[in-house]
């Protein structure tokens, strides 16, 4: 109940801000698009020199789309976790955090609503961007709405758990924000390079990869959007039967429990150390 009320407030707030800062919103997207294109072209051409391909830049569009999708997913992960780390740090400095703490709905509900609204907005933007870039590089995306929505939701829940954990740490140790940037970068890279082959190197690496919050999500999403759930390579197998999908669900459950538990403990600790404010 409280969640929806907070969510409504949050939606109204972000719509107003988006409208009021429309110029920033638009230029942000334009810059994102430009950056992505430059990166792709760079990526592709360096690849070409290495493999000595002669077929021209975008001979294999799946490589490009793979990269684009990974990149945008990475941005998404970067953003969701950032909402907790940098977000909390900023709000502590401005004093908004203390106001949120004094909301009877509780800090967790407030952040849940904030993150959900943020994620939906960013999925919307990223969607447009993925689409634009894919067109520009002649790629093909197979958009099967149901699995995509399920996967995106799971990805979000997965990141949320991780975000809550990082956010909890930021509540107590304000300097975590800096370290968190590194971790977010790592997530970002992981989203780009996550491939099934990565899971087959050896047991240790595959265990670590499964434990990290974005790998399985990225693999599943790529499986649907780029390989049309296997149909591209001949045999169709629904993503819901893919092993990574089960790992993703497991990952969600584990990370959310850890995240929320950690957040609660840290919230309490931060209240006893008085670090909800600027201290």
């Amino acid at each position: 109940m409280g969640f929806f009320l907070v969510m409504k407030a949050e939606i109204i707030r972000s719509l107003i801000i988006m409208r009021r800062y429309w110029f920033r919103t638009l230029t942000g997207m334009a810059i994102g698009y430009g950056m992505l294109m430059v990166l792709i072209i760079g990526f592709m051409s360096s690849r070409d020199t290495i493999t000595d391909a002669v077929d021209g830049r975008f001979a294999d569009p799946t490589t490009a789309t793979n990269f684009v999708l990974g990149f945008i997913l990475g941005m998404f992960a970067f953003g969701v976790v950032g909402m907790f780390t940098q977000g909390i740090q900023g709000m502590a400095q401005s004093g908004v955090l203390e106001q949120l703490c004094m909301s009877p709905h509780g800090l967790i509900v407030n952040f849940l609503a904030k993150a959900t609204v943020g994620a939906v907005t960013s999925v919307f933007y990223s969607g447009i961007m993925v689409w634009l870039v894919t067109i520009s590089v002649n790629g093909v995306l197979y958009f099967d709405a149901f699995p995509v929505i399920v996967l995106l939701t799971l990805t979000f829940i997965n990141l949320l758990g991780f975000g809550f954990m990082m956010g909890g740490l930021t509540l107590v140790f304000k300097q975590v924000g800096q370290v968190a940037i590194l971790i977010r970068m790592a997530l970002f890279a992981l989203a780009i390079f996550a491939r099934e082959e990565l899971l087959e190197i050896n047991f240790l690496i595959s265990a670590v990869m499964h434990a990290l919050p974005i790998t399985d999500a990225a693999i599943c999403l790529k499986y649907v959007l780029i390989y049309d759930q296997g149909a591209v390579n001949g045999e169709y197998a629904s993503v819901f039967t893919h092993p990574s999908f089960y790992f993703l669900i497991l990952n969600c459950v584990v990370w959310t429990s850890i995240g929320i538990a950690c957040f609660k403990v840290m919230e309490n600790w931060s209240r006893s150390r008085g670090t909800l404010g600027t201290y």
């Binding site: 907070v6 109204i12 908004v96 004094m102 909301s103 709905h105 509780g106 209240r271 008085g274 404010g277």
Partner: protein, 343 residues
């Protein structure tokens, strides 16, 4: 233990100590040494406060005394190390969410408002966070902006408003859920005379008519003297005194005496007289006389003895005494007297 029945807010033996750890660099003869220091700050030591409905409690104290910390402990933002806080008979630590519905807080100097939004949008946002919605929220938001004098700014983004206007909005936000208990941390800093007047009047009205309990911290003695029924003075985390306003001033007025004399006596022998706490000479209005101001002990049985001794001493020195007066104190001098030790 249950709280004192009949009071809306009750602090029961609150303790809070903060620890800060940091590295400290010390220049040695040849090297710079890094020392790890751990410091303790006692922000609250055994604080007991009760605020009855319809009463305004003023918390005064020098910088860093622990006023903001106390406010934060009542609002559940800081957890006390020891002791309990009760609001409307509910323990803050045990059911924090219940408490949060009942209190409105203005924290000092923080940017609680969301800058890209207008005051109206801010009030709606925070109203929703506080579980107020629909037509009630709309009506209350309009009323609050009207009373505080922000209605013509209600569609201007907060970032374009002045500091005082932001402060007014912060007060409106604290009042949006119509709380029973209101905690105001330095509410009138940065406000112009009219606004701070208006806010004082509104606080008094709300308290008296709607039976709210208010806690105000301030550095402005006039505000405190006009507003508060009870004054608590806190210094280095200790509640030095906690008395009804008039009693507090009376007690201190009783112990300050003005002696109009024809020439200034030496002060040290006077200070040596038992029962004399403080002695100083002020220049009187009439140029030919001096004003000797003595602070005597508040304990009555020693005071008369001290007075006799002072008069005898003045006569022995051959100083002519024109008159003796009991000085009327105000809150400021009382405050200074109680907290000078730490300055």
């Amino acid at each position: 233990m249950t709280p004192d029945s009949g009071s809306l807010v009750s602090l029961d033996g609150i303790h809070k100590t903060f620890f800060t750890r940091h590295f400290f660099y010390r220049e040695n003869d040849d090297a710079r040494r890094r020392i790890y220091v751990k410091k303790e700050v006692h922000a609250a030591q055994d604080i007991n406060i009760d605020i009855a409905p319809g009463k305004i409690f003023g918390l005064l104290g020098p910088n860093g005394a622990g006023k903001t910390t106390t406010v934060k402990m009542i609002s559940g933002l800081v957890k006390p190390d020891k002791g309990a806080v009760w609001v409307e008979g509910i323990n803050v630590e045990k059911s924090r969410k219940e408490i949060l519905k009942r209190i409105g807080v203005v924290l000092e100097g923080t940017r609680t408002t969301i800058w890209p939004l207008t005051p109206m949008e801010n009030l709606r946002y925070y109203g929703n966070l506080k579980n107020v919605r629909g037509s009630v929220l709309k009506k209350r938001a309009h009323e609050l902006l009207d009373f505080i004098g922000l209605s013509e700014k209600k569609d201007v983004q907060v970032r374009h408003m002045s500091r005082g206007q932001k402060q007014k909005l912060a007060i409106c936000i604290a009042l949006i859920a119509d709380p029973k208990v209101i905690l105001l941390d330095e509410p009138t800093t940065g406000l112009d005379v009219q606004s701070s007047r208006a806010i004082k009047d509104k606080i008094i009205e709300m308290t008296r008519e709607h039976g709210k309990a208010v806690l105000v911290t301030t550095h402005d003695m006039h505000v405190a003297q006009e507003l508060c029924d009870t004054i608590g003075i806190i210094d280095q985390g200790k509640l030095v005194t906690c008395k009804p306003m008039n009693e507090l001033i009376e007690v201190f007025s009783e112990s300050v005496f003005e002696f109009r004399v024809d020439e200034a006596p030496l002060l040290d022998p006077l200070r040596a007289i038992p029962g004399v706490v403080q002695a100083e000479v002020e220049n009187g209005n009439q140029s030919n006389t001096k004003l000797l101001v003595l602070h005597l002990t508040p304990k009555e049985e020693f005071r008369s003895e001290a007075l006799y001794n002072v008069v005898t001493h003045l006569r022995d020195c051959g100083i002519q005494l024109h008159s003796i007066n009991q000085r009327q104190q105000n809150l400021e001098s009382v405050f200074l007297q109680l907290t000078t030790s730490s300055i």
